[in-house]
Each structure stands twice: as C-alpha cells, then as structure tokens.
Amino acid sequence: MRQRGYTLLEIVVTLAVFGIFLFIVVLLTAEMRANEKKYPINYMAHPEVSSVMARLRKDIFDTKYYPATFQDYQQTPKTLILYTLQQTGFGETVVYDFRTAGEVHRKSFNATQLTGDWTARGVPQFSIGNFTLNTGQDAVRISANDEHNRLAIDEIFVPRPHD
C-alpha cells in the first residue's frame, strides 16, 4: 500500500519555490522603502499639504499689504498676517498660524470679527521667510520641513497687482 504524505524532496522543492517568492517580495519592498526615505513627504498620501499651499497661494496672490500686527498676532516666521481681497471685492485680514507643530491654522477676520477658522493637521513644520525681489517687491517664501528636518516645501509667492 502506498504511504500517505509528501516526500522530503517534494517538501524541499515547495519550500524553495516559496522562499524564492518571499525573497523577491522582501527585496522589492526594501528597495521601495529605501527609495521612499529619499523624499521628505509623500504628497499624494498627504493632500492636506497641497490644500495648505493652495490656500496660501490664493491668499498671498490677493494680498494688498502685510499688517505688522493684528489683535494678538504679530508678523513672525511662525505667524503670517495678510490683508487680502475677497471675491466680493472687500478686504479681510487673514492670519496663518504655524506655531503648533504639525498644524496650520488659518483665521480670517472681517474688521475685528472672526469669520473663518480652518485647520490642517498632520502637515510638516511650516515657516515664513521674506523674499525681496530685485524690484523691491515683498514676496513671501513659504518653507516646510518634515519630522526628519528635510525640506518638503519651498515656494515663493508674490502678490499680484490689484489696482
């Protein structure tokens, strides 16, 4: 009567095939991980970063001037105050607050009254720098670093003319 079960050879061959498959998967995954570490952030997986940049771009393009202070806020590398034009043609004061790590707060004010409060979480550490063009115009340089201090965002925005 024939014995039930597998021979040693059958088991070895099966394990070898499975081992090769596992080796390929591990190799591919390791290479991908190494590749991903090169990049400061996966922008596709973090749409909130693009969302912050889109709002900043729109607000700075529509900026008429940068108030030095507003209520308890002051212009600092972590707080940006803008006086921007709305779609209605009226102005509003917009404050970007980057002081909380991993968060961006955008507050808009009609005169002194808070009219909008928007927060993005899980974003890199934003900061604001001046960027003076050789024409004397004041642009805003927005940069952001990820948790490993790698530069993830570095964009210059220049207000557009409105008059």
Binding site: L28, T135, Q137, A139, I153, I156, P161
Partner: protein, 129 residues
C-alpha cells in the same frame, strides 16, 4: 481497480500557471504604483523650483532678459532628493517685443524632465508686472 488518489500532472501545471499569473500581476501592479507615486512626488518637487525661478524671471526688466546667466537664480535646495539633476534656462525671441523663457530641470540620468515657460512682452514699463 480503484482510481489513484491525488492530482494529475496537467492539474498541477494549470494550478501553477494560474498562481504564477496572479503573483506576477500583483507584483507588477505594486511596482508600477510605486514608480508612479515616486514620479508624482518628484514632479511636485521640480515644479516648486520651477515656479520659484519663474517668479524671479517675471520681474527682470525685458531688456535685460538676454543678459542674464542661464542658470537658476533661486535656491534649489528643494531638489536635493532628485540629485543628480541639471537645470537650464532658454530665452527665445519669437518677436522683437516678445520673449519666451523656458526653465528646465532634468534628473534620473536626464530621463525625467520638468519644464515651465513664461512669456514676457515689452510693454515699455519697468518690468515689474
């Protein structure tokens, strides 16, 4: 005589073939997805540097566009993950009063490229806008 238990050679081969196709397709999809994601991230980095450079060149006086060095004037630290990369600027004059400035970044052994062009017109102004 009772029939032997187990699978025939054909059955085993067909099963292996199906398994191979499924595994190969899954791995190929995985690799392709990763490649496209990486390319998208690289493109986002490249366009940050391109738009920064465009902002500077938008404000150079029209008459001085040709006299500029054809290297990026802006900080390109954001491009570090693409290293080694090359940047170039080309100024074209389709008409006497119009210039087209094209900024190019090449990376991945020049296999990948991102371009941005701006058009400048001689309005007789000081080049601010």
């Amino acid at each position: 005589m009772s029939k032997s238990r187990g699978f025939t050679l054909i059955e085993v081969l067909v099963a292996l073939l199906v398994l191979t196709i499924v595994i190969t397709t899954t791995i190929a999809m995985f690799v392709e997805r990763h490649k496209r994601l990486r390319q998208a991230n690289e493109t986002i980095l490249a366009y940050q540097a391109l738009s920064n450079e465009a902002e500077i060149w938008r404000r150079i006086a029209f008459g001085q566009l040709d006299a500029q060095a054809i290297t990026f004037q802006s900080d390109t630290a954001i491009l570090a993950p693409l290293a080694p990369y090359a940047t170039s600027i080309h100024v074209d004059t389709p008409r006497a009063d119009v210039k087209s400035v094209t900024f190019t970044i090449r990376w991945a052994n020049t296999q990948r490229e991102a371009k941005l062009s701006i058009v400048r017109a001689d309005t007789g102004g000081n080049g601010l806008w």
